[in-house]
C-alpha cells in the first residue's frame, strides 16, 4: 500500500477531522477579517476614544475577536488538539453544527452592536453562546480523554475555564444592554476582556505554540519544566486579575497579576526563541515576522495594563491597551500562524487526491500564494501603525486610513486563502523538493 505523503492521515483511524471542517472556520475568519476593518472604518469617528458602548467600534472589536480570533481558534483547536491529546474529536456533525450556529450568530451580534439593535444583538449573542457551549463540551471531552502532552492539555483546561468566565460575563453585559443588569458593568468588562484575551485565546495560543512553533522550526520539544512554570504563572496572573476585578485589594492584586503575567510571558517567549534559534529551519519568513510582532505587542499590552487600571492621565490609554492586546498581539500572531497552517493542512488533504494515480501531492509551498501574503504583510503592519497614531493623535482620519489599509490586507489574505483552496482542489505537479515557503 504505497501512498503519497499525507494519504492515509484522514483515514478511519485518523485523529484528524476532514479538512472541510477546519477550513470552513478559517474561511469564515477570513471573511470576518475584512468585515471587521470595514466596521472600523464606519466607526472611525468614535474609535480613537472607544471604551465600550454600542456602535461600529464595538461591532469591529467583536468581528475581530469572535469573528476572526475565536473562529480560527475553534477550527485550529479541533484539528490540532487531537494530535496532542491522541484522542479523536468524535462526530464530524458537532463541529459542523457549531459552525452553523456560530457564524450567523457572530454576524448578527456585530450587526446588532453596529446599528444599536438590541433584539438582533441578543439573538446573535444567544446563537454564539449556544455554539461556544457546544464547543466547550467537545473541548472538555477531548481533554478529559487525553493520552499525551500534559502541558498542552493543561493549557486547554485553562482556556476552557476562561471560556466559562467569558460566556458568563457576556451574558451579564448583554443583560446590561437589554436593561437587566446582573453584575457591575465595569467588573464584567474587566473580567470579560481579561479572560477572553489572556485566558481563552492566550492559553490556547500558548498551549498550541508548544506544538506549532517547534513543528514549523523543526526544533526539539521545549523544556517542559519551564513550560509548566510559565503555565503556573499565567494561571496565577488570571486568578489575581479576577480577584482584582472583583474588588479584592485591587491595586495590589492587579500589580501582582501583571508581574505574574510578565514572568509567564518571559518564560514562554524564551522557550519559543530557543526553538526558533535551534531549529533546523531558521528562515521562517513573513509569517514568523508577524508572530514576533505579535509577541512584542503581548509584552506591550501587559506594560500598558497597569496604566489602564490606575486611570492614567492619558485618557485614551484603555483604547491603546485594547489595540495592543487584540490587534497587536492576538490578530497579528494568529494571521502569522494561519498563513502557515492553511497550506500545511491543504497539502495533507491533497495527499488523498494524490493516491489516485497522480503521483506526489502538491507541497505546502506549491499551494501557498506569496504575492497576496506579501501585500497582506505590508498592509497589516501599516494598519497597526496608523491605528497607533490614530489613538495617540485622536484622529478619525487616521482610523479610516488604518481601516482602509487593513481592509486591503484582508482582501489580500482572502486571495491567499482562495488560491490555496483552488490549488488544493486542482493539484498541480510539485515544482520539486525544496524548503517550506518563505512566509
Amino acid at each position: 500500500m504505497r501512498l503519497a505523503a499525507g494519504a492515509f492521515i484522514a483515514g478511519a483511524g485518523s485523529r484528524l477531522l476532514p479538512v472541510s471542517i477546519p477550513f470552513r472556520f478559517f474561511g469564515a475568519a477570513v471573511a470576518f477579517h475584512l468585515l471587521a476593518w470595514i466596521a472600523l472604518f464606519a466607526g472611525g469617528d468614535e474609535a480613537p476614544r472607544f471604551a465600550g458602548g454600542l456602535g461600529w467600534p464595538l461591532a469591529a472589536l467583536h468581528l475581530f475577536t469572535l469573528g476572526v480570533l475565536v473562529m480560527t481558534a475553534i477550527g485550529a483547536s479541533l484539528q490540532l488538539l487531537p494530535v496532542a491529546t491522541r484522542r479523536q474529536v468524535g462526530s464530524e456533525h458537532w463541529p459542523a453544527a457549531i459552525w452553523w450556529f456560530y457564524t450567523p450568530g457572530v454576524a448578527m451580534t456585530a450587526f446588532g452592536m453596529g446599528v444599536g439593535a438590541t433584539s438582533v444583538l441578543a439573538a446573535g449573542a444567544a446563537a454564539v453562546i449556544v455554539a461556544l457551549a457546544a464547543y466547550a463540551v467537545l473541548l472538555a471531552r477531548n481533554l478529559a480523554g487525553a493520552k499525551g502532552m500534559p502541558i498542552i492539555v493543561a493549557h486547554g483546561w485553562a482556556a476552557l475555564a476562561s471560556l466559562f468566565v467569558v460566556i458568563a460575563t457576556a451574558l451579564a453585559l448583554a443583560g446590561t444592554y437589554a436593561g437587566t443588569p446582573t453584575i457591575d458593568r465595569t467588573t464584567a468588562i474587566a473580567l470579560h476582556a481579561t479572560f477572553a484575551a489572556y485566558g481563552f485565546m492566550g492559553m490556547l495560543a500558548f498551549g498550541l505554540s508548544y506544538i506549532l512553533v517547534p513543528m514549523f522550526a523543526l526544533a526539539a520539544v521545549p523544556d517542559p519544566r519551564q513550560g509548566w512554570a510559565s503555565f503556573a504563572l499565567a494561571v496565577l496572573a488570571l486568578v489575581l486579575a479576577a480577584a482584582a476585578a472583583l474588588d479584592f485589594a485591587p491595586a495590589l492584586l492587579r500589580t501582582a497579576a501583571v508581574a505574574a503575567g510578565l514572568a509567564a510571558v518571559a518564560l514562554h517567549l524564551r522557550l519559543m526563541t530557543i526553538a526558533l534559534k535551534t531549529g533546523m529551519r531558521r528562515h521562517l519568513g513573513r509569517s514568523f515576522a508577524l508572530v514576533r510582532v505579535g509577541w512584542g505587542f503581548l509584552v506591550a499590552s501587559l506594560v500598558l495594563a497597569p496604566a489602564v487600571a490606575i486611570d492614567a492621565s492619558f485618557d485614551r490609554v484603555a483604547t491603546l491597551f485594547g489595540f495592543a492586546l487584540i490587534g497587536g498581539w492576538l490578530l497579528t500572531f494568529l494571521l502569522g500562524i494561519l498563513q502557515r497552517i492553511v497550506p500545511f493542512l491543504a497539502s495533507m488533504h491533497a495527499g488523498q487526491v494524490g493516491t489516485r494515480g497522480r503521483g506526489l501531492p502538491p507541497t505546502p509551498s506549491a499551494l501557498t500564494a506569496e504575492r497576496p501574503l506579501a501585500i497582506h504583510f505590508a498592509c497589516h503592519l501599516a494598519a497597526l501603525a496608523l491605528l497607533a497614531i490614530a489613538i495617540a493623535a485622536d484622529s478619525a482620519l487616521a482610523v479610516r486610513a488604518a481601516a482602509a489599509a487593513g481592509a486591503a490586507g484582508a482582501l489580500a489574505f482572502g486571495a491567499f486563502f482562495a488560491t490555496v483552496l483552488r490549488r488544493m482542489r486542482r493539484p498541480k505537479p510539485p515544482a520539486g523538493a525544496g524548503t517550506m515557503p518563505a512566509s
Binding site: M1, R2, L3, A4, A5, G6, A7, F8, I9, G11, G13, S14, R15, L16, V83, A84, R86, G148, M149, I211, P214, M215, L218, A219, A220, V221, M280, P343, F344, S347, M348, G351, G359, L360, P361, P362, T363, P364, S365, P430, G432, A433, G434, T435, M436
Partner: protein, 96 residues
C-alpha cells in the same frame, strides 16, 4: 548506528529516536516521543541521507499527521508496512 534485526522483539525496546541499519533500510524508532519530536527526528534523518535512495523504516505508535507536509516538500513517499502489534510501521522512500 547499530545493526539490529527490525522484526525482533528487541526492536520494540529501542529508546526513542534510536536509529539502526538493516537490509531493508535505515530504521528509526520514534515511539514515546511527544509531538513534534517524531517529525523532527525523521526529517533530521532523511536530510542526513541527502540525495541517497536508501529507504527509511519508521517505527511509530500512531499515524504521524505532522510529518506529511514535510515529506511532501522533500519529495518522499510513505508506505505503511506490517509491524509489531500496536505499532505503526512506515517505509519512506524518495519518489522516483
Amino acid at each position: 548506528m547499530h545493526a539490529r534485526p527490525n522484526d525482533s522483539p528487541a526492536a520494540a525496546d529501542n529508546p526513542p529516536g534510536r536509529r539502526w541499519t538493516d537490509a531493508d533500510g535505515i530504521h528509526i524508532d520514534v515511539r514515546g516521543l511527544a509531538p513534534p519530536g517524531p517529525l523532527v527526528a525523521i526529517v533530521e534523518l532523511i536530510e542526513s541521507i541527502g540525495g541517497g535512495t536508501t529507504p527509511v523504516i519508521v517505527h511509530h505508535e500512531r499515524d504521524p499527521v505532522l510529518l506529511h507536509g514535510e515529506l511532501a516538500e522533500r519529495g518522499w513517499t510513505v508506505e505503511r508496512i506490517d509491524g509489531l502489534p500496536g505499532e505503526v510501521r512506515l517505509k519512506l522512500e524518495r519518489a522516483r
